[in-house]
Amino acid sequence: MPHELEQLRDAALAEVNAASDEQALEAARVRYLGRAGSVSAWAERMKSLSKEEKPVVGKLLNEARTSVTAAIAERVERLRGEKEARELANIDISLPGTAAEAGSLHPLTQMLDRSISIFRRMGFALAEGPDVETEWHCFDALNTAPDHPARNEQDTFYLPDGRLLRTHTSTVQIRTMETAPPPIRIIAPGAAYRRDEVDATHSAQFHQIEGLYIDEKVSVADLKGTLEFFMRELFGAETQIRFRPHYFPFTEPSLEVDVKSKALRGGEQWLEMCGCGMVHPAVYEQVNRARGDNAYDPEKWSGFAFGLGMDRLAMILFGIPDIRYFAANDLRFLRQFA
């Protein structure tokens, strides 16, 4: 027959394991292990036991205490786990998340960044020049003399001091060559201005990326390689690209680039993307005269230049129907590009 203490221990363990919450468990703990608890009472009784009984009972008492304490700890753990599981199960995970509203980059910035990163992978460094320019940098140095049919002062904004707002970023070609000798491999993102009525496809101020590569024996083949790579990176590997002869005073031969791609308005038609060409020797001559040396010897160096309209690219790529969205900055528009 088990010792009375063993019976008490089993009763305590049963009660602990039956406790359904922490309150019931605490009550059980107090009842058995508390200062006045029935297990603790045996410790009192020990004093009056015989020498022979003492070690036996002491061992039993210890064992009872340890096992009940352990059972309580285990039970607490379990009850807490169960409670937590119940609480977690009750969380409505369909409630909306609480992330702070994100901001957004302007679509033109995104377009510029994307284009810049492609050119940087090809080894182009950035360059820049002022928006307010001299007539020389904007026209004369670019082989567009005052009586040139392509020089249209009517479409140019002038400042009272005779300077102007650059009509293209090609001015940065000149700015760069004035200060650095060849080879040159740069792109220049920036604003350009046109004195023209504003409508869905024209704005008074727009954005371009200018490119210039001057090195020994640069040819139309290099120009094609560079721009075809850019267009395919931007519009996808399937993009068709064609180069058409055109005319710009500062390049010869001059070309225009058209692309056709499923991603662009269904790929139904050729879309004009870019003007480009081989830098005209007259441009080198103007630059050399300004530099006072022959650093850009047309016999030694050749190069290509191009100009990409960022507004138009962004409109085509994002499907934006009207250029005026860009400067209006309606948040309902901007947040679409977050």
């Binding site: 740069i186 008074a204 948040l331």
Partner: protein, 781 residues
């Protein structure tokens, strides 16, 4: 410019497929921007003459016409139009005809009256989109002739001619280009090019030989001014030019055919000898368009002994123009300096078809040919008697200089070898003649109409056009390029943008051109020639541009506007360019309904927090600024970067908002290079202990001062001080007036050991005591 395919065909055999021709031209740099089908070719539609017209007995709107269709038998047609009279000639669709939209014509009865066909409007024949009434044909039209003979089928190309190719601004010129591109011979009808038995004689003065190197006049007598024959009218109308009378139409026809403008004076209205001279300052000129122009001393005019009778290459005079009563003509054909014509046409804002061509340099070889062509046509069409001689003055410009070309240059620039034979063959196609030949290079004589071919690279382009750019291989050549200053600026700005977007701001990009209204607020660099009131100056700051964006979005119902712009502003008076960052915060911290949203408005500390997070250590000082009710300056390293503050109530009223709006603008240039490289610090190995201090302080005691007091104790164990609570003002009704509660967490740490409670208590007590002693604060437990 528009080109008629039928007209081109007169000069050169065209490829069978017009799509192919359009593609060929486009890929050769003559871009076809549009293709339009013209003409009315219908079976069973003929020219008929209305003999009589009566009111329909049963319908107010209808008439019953008797028409002559050339068959000899009168035909009865019921007609709804009103725009005709008896004897007019009109198109008649006979039974069996099928018109536009598949409309089948058959005999029928209309309100009881028999109709044996239909009289047609332009739109029913596909000649226009919409039309009102019948198409009234020329009185010369032959009764019974098929309508297709009056309106032959044609295709009109809309072609972009680049400004360097003035030689393509005529049908003959484009045909010449096509002949070179496709390798078909160019047909030169003798009637066009024959200079005939024309004797040249002198007898005109040119007082401005630089502006007018060459001019010619031909007397053409006994002209009968009248309407043009149908073929001529159809030709020039197909080019979008209105038919005026036979003489004016011939002049236009020749210009479109050969590219050389001519002008017909009424010879009997000219007084005395002619002189080509520069205008007198302020000289008045009544032009053909009925307007009077005040000329300047660099405008070139044709003058008789009394007055200017024409602005050279731009427009003739009204008083000496051809009119219905003109009997004798003096026909001018000249070669004017392109720059002179261009300048005058621009300054007078008087662009014309003639000036467009003169500006782009007409072919010197075509001047007299055009004069002859026009004279011949006037003889044929207007019964005129051209004088046997042409009077000329000056010299036609000499042909362009020879250009030499190294064959290797072609290979280098195109990037693929092209054989010298192929180079030679290509250049010959374009009418160049080899002046001297060599194994490595040859010299080329340039035809008079190709003034754009001035140097070797121009010849390379001709070769490339025929070689085909599609046949040039693609090369991939990269080069290692060191980072530039612009790269560093770009990367700095990109990271700034990323930070601001991460903090929930939306980037905007406003126009750098600002409105008249905006410059009323602050001085800005103004444009000399603005086009409208929206773009009159360069922005001086982001104040107006960003406020406009705010106003627009408030109007659109936004709950929160947190925006920034990064870009250039222009400092008057010189327009010096600076890089600025502009920020506007307005509205609720968290817009829209959310189950856990914090409902409070954005305020100064949100603005300050944004600036601190992207600009690093900056300090803020109070200042005064007219547009701001709360204005602070932003300083970094002894440099004033910009301002931050709250917009005044006037601004907010204009925007229509009751919320406060917060604006900041900083010059970011000093920060671009200030961005320090991160430096490693040892990670703390021993635990820190945090103790709080809460106190009641006077409302006007600044946080800055409290922190400074704590820090001046120079306690080595004190690692940081953080403000974690401020409570006061309206919220704290049970406080003494003029008091607020502030609570700080002070963190203690030692790099080399774990601190004991006792030593922290000593240090902490010293700091508490210092606060009490120096600031008189009331410490709370």
């Amino acid at each position: 410019m528009k080109f008629s395919v039928n007209w081109l065909r007169e000069f050169v055999e065209l490829p069978a497929s017009l799509d192919e021709l359009a593609e060929l031209l486009t890929m050769a740099g003559v871009e076809i921007e549009g293709v339009e089908k013209r003409g009315a070719n219908f079976d069973n539609v003929v020219v008929a003459q209305i003999k009589a017209s009566e009111q329909h007995p049963n319908a107010d709107r209808l008439s019953v016409c008797q028409v002559d269709d050339g068959s000899g038998q009168a035909r009865q047609i019921v007609c709804g139009a009103k725009n005709y009279k008896a004897s007019d000639k009109v198109p008649l669709a006979l039974p069996g005809a099928v018109l536009v939209g598949g409309l089948k014509i058959k005999p029928s009865k209309l309100r009881g009256v028999e109709s044996q066909g239909m009289l047609c409007s332009p739109s029913e024949l596909g000649l226009s989109e919409e039309s009102d009434g019948l198409l009234i044909l020329s009185p010369e039209a032959k009764i019974g002739a098929p309508i297709g003979s009056l309106f032959p089928e044609d295709t009109i190309f809309d072609v972009e001619i680049t400004p360097n190719r003035g030689d393509l601004l005529s049908h003959f010129g484009l045909a010449r280009e096509i002949s070179a591109l496709v390798g078909q011979p160019l047909r030169l009808p003798g009637a066009i090019m024959a200079t005939g038995a024309v004797a040249l004689q002198k007898g005109i003065t040119i007082s401005a030989p630089a502006e007018c190197p060459f001019i010619s006049f031909r007397k053409i007598d006994n002209v009968k001014i009248g309407p043009s024959p149908d073929w001529l009218r159809a030709r020039i109308e197909s080019m979008g030019i209105r038919s005026i009378n036979n003489i004016v139409d011939i002049s236009n026809f020749v210009m479109i055919e050969l590219g050389q403008p001519t002008h017909a004076f009424d010879a009997d209205k000219l007084k005395g000898a002619l002189n080509v001279r520069l205008a007198r300052d302020g000289e008045k000129f009544l032009a053909l368009d009925g307007k009077t122009y005040a000329l300047k001393t660099d405008d070139l005019v044709i003058a008789d002994e009394e007055r200017a009778v024409g602005i050279a290459g731009v427009m003739g005079g009204q008083e000496t123009g051809v009119s219905e009563s003109t009997k004798n003509i003096l026909l001018e054909a000249a070669w004017f300096l392109p720059a002179s014509v261009r300048r005058t046409a621009r300054t007078l804002n008087l662009p014309s078809d003639a000036s467009y061509r003169f500006e782009r340099r007409v072919d010197p070889g075509m001047v007299l040919a055009a004069s002859n062509r026009a004279a011949e046509l006037m003889r044929e069409i207007a019964g005129a008697i051209p004088a046997p001689e042409i009077t000329t003055a000056g010299q036609l410009p000499s042909p362009p200089s020879d250009v030499s070309l190294r064959y290797e240059q072609v290979d280098d620039l195109i990037g693929v070898p092209v054989s010298p034979e192929r180079v030679d063959e290509t250049l010959r196609r374009f009418g160049l003649e080899q002046a001297s030949a060599g194994a490595e290079q040859s010299s080329w004589r340039i035809p008079g109409h190709r003034f754009d071919l001035q140097r070797d690279v121009d010849l390379v382009e001709e070769i490339l056009r025929v070689f085909g750019i599609a046949n040039v291989p693609v090369r991939d050549r990269s080069r290692f390029t060191p980072e530039s200053e612009a790269d560093r600026v770009h990367d700095f700005e990109s990271s700034l943008r990323a930070h601001l977007v991460g903090r929930g701001l939306n980037e905007v990009r406003t126009s750098k051109l600002i409105s008249r209204k905006a410059i009323a607020r602050e001085e800005a660099v103004e444009l000399r020639n603005p086009l409208n009131e929206d773009h009159v100056a360069l922005r001086r700051s982001f104040f107006s541009p960003l406020l406009d964006v705010l106003a627009r979005n408030v109007l659109a119902g936004a709950q929160r506007v947190a925006i920034f712009e990064l870009g250039r502003v222009f400092v008057p008076p010189g327009g010096n360019e600076e890089r600025h960052l502009g920020i506007v915060l307005w509205g609720k911290l968290e817009p829209g309904a959310h189950w856990r949203s914090q409902d409070r408005a954005l305020d100064y500390f949100d603005l300050k927090g944004v600036i601190e997070s992207v600009m690093g250590p900056v300090t803020f000082k109070r200042t005064d600024q007219s547009d701001l009710v709360l204005a602070t300056e932003i300083w970094s390293n002894e440099q004033r970067l910009g301002i931050a503050g709250q917009l005044g109530s006037a601004e907010m009223k204009a925007i229509g908002s009751t919320h406060a709006a917060w604006f900041a603008e900083l010059n970011i240039a000093p920060q671009i290079h200030a961005a320090a490289r991160p430096a490693f610090r040892e990670v703390h190995r021993f635990p820190a202990v945090t103790r709080d201090i809460a106190m009641m302080v006077p409302e006007n005691l600044a946080h800055e001062k409290i922190v400074a007091t704590i820090l001046t104790a120079n306690e080595p164990l004190l690692a940081s001080v953080e403000l974690f609570d401020v409570f006061g003002g309206e919220q704290a009704k049970n406080f003494d007036a003029g008091k607020k509660s502030m609570a700080y967490a002070l963190t203690y740490r030692d790099k080399t050991r774990t601190l004991t409670n006792e030593e922290i208590t000593v240090v902490h007590a010293k700091i508490r005591e210092r606060l009490q002693r120096e600031l008189g604060v009331e410490l709370r437990e």
